[in-house]
Symmetry: C2
């Protein structure tokens, strides 16, 4: 959201939208079932880097999907039919209930876990490692938000070794690459670790939020395979599912994004606009923390600014959250993870005052 | 296709696309799971007429879907869970293999039938009635192309009585309302018959082809129920499926169409552009028939001009079709039903010459 409480749109997007509407050479024929190829290639470059190993080796591909729900639907359907190791899915992330339901509807057993430590008030890599340790062999791991978890090099190695030896299939979720730090490359570096350790995996990449095209459902189901031959086998199956789901994905969003990503000058401008969003998120968090301090709210609120990204944990107990919802009509999920961009000059005083009250008036201490 | 072999786009569409791109007041927030409400309402008015019984009685609604594949996927998922009468689906139409696969993948038994009489060279209502007579009780009937079948009043009554007494659930397919005759109201009149006879039904309505927005997947799953209460129950279930399939449908196509349908002047211009397409289809068919006559091709070719719509049967045997495909590289489906708008000044001579040869050089007589 912008400071005015409107959905953020990259200024590039408005410009390109107009260009596309004025382009007499475009035709509006059905797209291929796989989607717009140039869009897929541009998005893969964004995810892995232009000269990355997998792209060079021709063993990464993708299917253009209707948003990230579409990507999970497609991936889940494939795994249901072709992944024979296990029918168990761990969703390791925050607020991913909707993806859990997709797997559940298809007959998977779904477990949801978080690696937010509500005592230490931080994302805890060791909780992630514990989950892997306890998970059954061959299960599917849907992992979002891992980049924010700050694993050390040795923790990454441990994580991958355990996943490898237990034959756990990773299904990553990249809902908004770049929105945590503004550094697009940094935020998906962990994918390269998995590539170089010889993993095959799926990854849902959504581009709606980082361009501000929320209403066009621009997602990709990314497939990393061990060889081009295996990749083509998987893609051909995915194509069948996509045909039955929506026949061909919508093009407007993909056209806009491709135009920006394939033009270095526009891509530069877009990245700058994204950095502006990241700076703004940090500013809001600083302000919230400062207001809570000035209000004399008990406890440390450093965890607010220590977390990256638009969505972060407030670090409230469920009773405190209930107080916000019931007494203050501030509707946030029970885990207290909120979208900081929704806080603006008009509501920051009310919100921080309410948080302060919630902490003071609920007996329960934070846990 | 246009005379130049390009996908047809209504001139209105280009104009509105530009207006939308220039509109600073639009935001690009996620749409509701059900889709754009104004789009759904405008499309239902187009389908049933503004002052129709079902709309007044508030017992028709729809979910905005990603194309007609999306509408069938959504409808099929609902029927799989909630329709307990039977798991048998009859697809009564032409070239609907893809919808057959959607039902099949969900575990339905699927039968495909056509009411094209290849001896009499016409769509035969009595074949349709025969299928209904032989179908098992409680099955689902996916019906496309019925409007072109020219049932008499008494045949409609017989059809509906049989379907009613056998508790057959109709699932209509309206892929391009108006493209057969240019008369939008006439082509969906049969829906009103079903409404007034107290049927509940689904209907897939696609608006991509009649506006020339093929790449945006603008469809609707229309639900007609016996009461508003029942309608709301069905819609609430469909919403769950839609959430898992794509979360929220893409908006560009729906925005364009709504802008046109909600403005009487634009709607008038658009209808005129559609009539132009219909006239052009008729002209092509006349030309094909005339060329075949001049080439001395054996047989009568009146069935070409007697059929309505862009897609019609050539009335060739499967051997004759095979001849076209293998010897002439004219790739058409085995039933010989082709898209006449793909025939233009550049290829009409080659195509008619080839058909003529196919008829002369294959021993098999038309059957």
């Amino acid at each position: 959201m912008t400071k005015e409480g409107q959905p953020w749109v990259s200024p590039m997007v408005r410009k390109i939208r107009l260009q596309i509407a004025q382009d007499p050479s475009l035709n509006y024929e059905y797209m291929p079932v796989m989607g717009m190829n140039s869009f897929i290639q541009a998005s893969l470059s964004l995810l892995f880097g232009k000269n990355s190993q997998v792209i060079m080796e021709n063993r990464v591909g993708g299917v253009h999907t209707v948003g990230d729900s579409g990507a999970f639907q497609l991936g889940a359907q494939f795994l249901k039919t072709w992944y024979r190791d296990s029918q168990i899915v761990y969703i390791i992330s925050s607020q991913k209930e909707s993806y859990g339901l997709i797997f559940q509807d298809l007959g998977f057993s779904v477990y949801e876990c978080s690696f937010w430590d509500s005592t230490k008030l931080c994302l805890d890599p060791s909780m992630l490692l514990d989950v892997v340790e306890q998970a059954p062999r061959g299960c599917v791991f849907v992992m979002g938000n891992v980049a924010n978890c700050k694993l050390s090099q040795s923790q990454w190695i441990k994580l991958m070794s355990m996943m490898k030896s237990k034959r756990i299939f990773p299904f990553f979720d990249i809902p908004c690459q770049g929105l945590s730090t503004g550094d697009l490359e940094e935020e998906t570096r962990f994918l390269k670790y998995f590539v170089s350790r010889g993993f095959e995996f799926f990854c849902s990449q959504s581009l709606s939020k980082i361009f501000g095209i929320y209403d066009e459902g621009v997602g990709i189901l990314v497939v990393v395979a061990l060889s081009n031959e295996l990749l083509l086998c998987v893609l051909s199956q995915l194509m069948n599912y996509a045909r039955a789901l929506w026949l061909s994905p919508p093009s407007t969003g993909a056209r806009i994004i491709t135009s920006i990503l394939c033009n270095p000058a526009l891509q530069g401008e877009w990245k700058q606009s994204l950095e502006g969003v990241v700076d703004n998120i940090m500013l809001i968090k600083e302000k919230v923390k400062e207001k809570l301090r000035l209000l004399g709210t008990p406890g440390s609120w450093d965890h607010i600014t220590e977390q990256k990204g638009s969505h972060s944990y407030l670090g409230l107990s469920s009773q405190q959250v209930e107080y916000l919802v019931k007494k203050k009509h501030i509707y946030i999920p029970r885990n207290g993870r909120i979208n900081f961009t929704c806080i603006n000059a008009c509501n920051i005083d009310y919100i921080t005052q309410s948080i302060s009250e919630a902490v003071l008036f609920t007996k329960d201490s934070k846990k």
